[in-house]
């Protein structure tokens, strides 16, 4: 028969075992083995751009004018406007064409390299940047000319065609290549500061070349020989009239009559309007309007692809924004208001 002391010992041992088991169960339950409770780091370790993404509604001067146009690409790259406001889009190795209402036209051009730039002339001629060289097609999509490769590592991101000179922005060499009209390379100029592969050009009717020097946050003006004439633009993440991030604007287009310039930015994904002197006018679209897309680009499937917007403007002043991730075109039209920027003719 067990003594009282032995019984007490058994109780103590039982209690110790119960407490130990309870501790084990508690530690298993309370330990966040699967990361469901987050990283447990303090607020100083969080990266938050939500305040910077907010746009003053009074600054938004445009609204979406029609349903978005599905380009049919799996990933959008570039957009241009041609005769009769036809819309040309690039995605992967294909070019697609739409009429001004967004209806897909039968013309498709496909090449064996990525299409990286497109410009369409008034006669419908299509100048395509095919990664490292330029190809020219007529309005029906027939190949007319294929120019020599700039070299390995070249990436043509924009093409400007003037009566005598063709300019190609080459991200690879961070320079602008000058060709004569027959495709003979003349020379190159510039040592642009381009941290990522966005490098846009435009041509003004008074004979000047505009180039986005993104690392300097500037739109620069050159004469046709490549001499720098002037520039405007500066950095700020907080001030909406300036360009954000490491390298913006990633793309731009001229409004009809060169009354202003529409710019696109990455980081804080937004579209803005400046007058021809570079004074900020307002927003076409604020960062909030790209929340869904920015949510997608934060996911692993998207976050390391090129995802910057491209922009074109048609003859009616509609701003056509190609959103690469959803591969769709947003069509923006000026809201009819009588504010100061309208009185400036923009």
């Amino acid at each position: 028969m067990k003594s009282t002391k032995q019984k007490n010992n058994q109780w103590v041992i039982g209690l110790v075992i119960a407490v130990a088991l309870g501790g084990v169960v508690l530690s298993i339950v309370s330990t966040d083995r699967f990361g469901e409770k987050g990283n447990g780091l303090g607020p100083e370790y969080q990266y938050d751009l939500s305040e910077l993404r907010k746009t003053d509604p009074a600054m938004i001067l445009y609204k979406e004018a029609s349903p978005r146009i599905n380009t049919g690409h799996s990933w959008g790259r570039a957009i241009a406007v041609g005769p009769e406001d036809q819309i040309y889009t690039l995605g992967g190795q294909q070019l697609h064409v739409f009429d001004s209402t967004g209806k897909r036209l039968p013309l498709t051009i496909e090449r064996d390299k990525e299409l990286t730039a497109v410009t369409v002339l008034k006669d419908g001629s299509i100048y395509l940047g095919v990664t490292d060289h330029i190809e020219i097609f007529d309005a029906s999509g027939q190949l007319k000319s294929q120019w020599e490769s700039i070299g390995s590592g070249a990436e043509i991101t924009s093409i400007v065609v003037t009566p005598d000179i063709v300019f190609a922005a080459d991200f690879g060499s961070r320079s602008v290549i000058r060709y004569d009209a027959s495709g003979q390379k003349l020379d190159s100029f510039g040592d642009f500061n381009l941290p990522s592969n966005y490098f846009d050009l435009a041509y003004t009717s008074d004979g000047q070349l505009l180039a986005a020097n993104t690392g300097e946050h500037r739109i620069e003006t050159y004469d046709l020989k490549g001499n720098l004439m002037s520039w405007w633009g500066e950095f700020s993440n907080q001030e909406p009239d300036k360009f954000c991030g490491c390298c913006n604007p990633i793309s731009f287009a001229l409004l009809p009559g060169q009354s202003g310039i529409v710019t696109c930015e990455k980081g804080l994904t937004r579209v803005k309007v400046y007058d021809k002197e570079g004074r900020f006018v307002g927003f076409v679209a604020g960062a909030e309007s790209f929340d869904q897309r920015d949510g997608l680009t934060a996911t692993p499937e998207y976050c390391y692809n090129r995802m910057g917007l491209d922009v074109a403007v048609d003859s009616q002043g509609r701003v056509l924004v190609l959103e690469p991730v959803m591969a769709e075109i947003r069509v923006y039209q000026r809201i009819n208001t009588d504010n100061s920027s309208r009185s400036q003719g923009i």
């Binding site: 447990g40 941290p195 390298c247 980081g267």
Partner: protein, 189 residues
């Protein structure tokens, strides 16, 4: 009385038994070493195309100081004057003052190279793998900064605690011949 033949049989039996045992031990040890060797042929690594820099690497590693560190692929880096991995999203000014730096531990070193380029190095002794700079680089820049398991620190657990806690299953096993998953120029942003 046992005959001579029977006595020899016993010796033979013991001898053969010992030989068999030796073979068994040798085989077992060889198998064990081979298995260990095979297990050590693979290491944990972060696939940068899956990583979202959630910060779990900083706190779920079994080591007091995480084996995960930020790395910079210089072939991709823009050497930006205005590096969004180095500066706060709303910096007071563009200098190396602590109030302007994004990294809470000051682990990114900024060195002037030539106008307008700056080099950014990670001081791994200060980096805790929170991924804040990785997000800054990805949001605005070209994603040249990303997280990798450093094998001089990793103890190569059979079941990596970070891998279990990773929300995107970015931790993967890689052969020791290629222990790092480095980004190249194809990863443009």
């Amino acid at each position: 009385m046992p005959n001579q033949d029977n006595a020899l049989d016993r010796r033979d039996l013991i001898k053969k038994g010992l030989h068999g045992l030796a073979l068994l031990v040798t085989g077992g040890v060889s198998g064990f070493l081979a298995e260990r060797s095979q297990a050590n042929s693979y290491h944990w690594q972060i696939d940068p195309s899956k990583c979202i820099a959630c910060g779990n690497c900083a706190t779920y590693c079994v080591l007091e100081e995480s084996a995960v560190k930020c790395v910079n692929t210089y072939a991709m880096c823009g050497y930006c004057n205005l590096c969004t991995a180095f500066f706060e999203p709303a910096p007071k000014s563009l200098n190396t003052g602590a109030e302007n730096q994004l990294c809470p531990t000051g682990a990114i070193l900024r060195t002037f190279i030539e106008e307008p380029y700056y080099e950014y190095k990670i001081d791994e002794s200060l980096c805790i793998a929170c991924g804040k700079c990785v997000k800054g680089c990805k949001e605005f820049g070209n994603g040249s900064l990303y997280l990798q398991v450093r094998h001089d620190r990793c103890v190569n657990c059979n079941q990596c605690a970070i891998a279990v806690a990773c929300p995107t299953q970015a931790l993967t096993r890689v052969h020791r011949d290629q222990p790092y998953l480095l980004k190249g120029m194809d990863n443009k942003a």
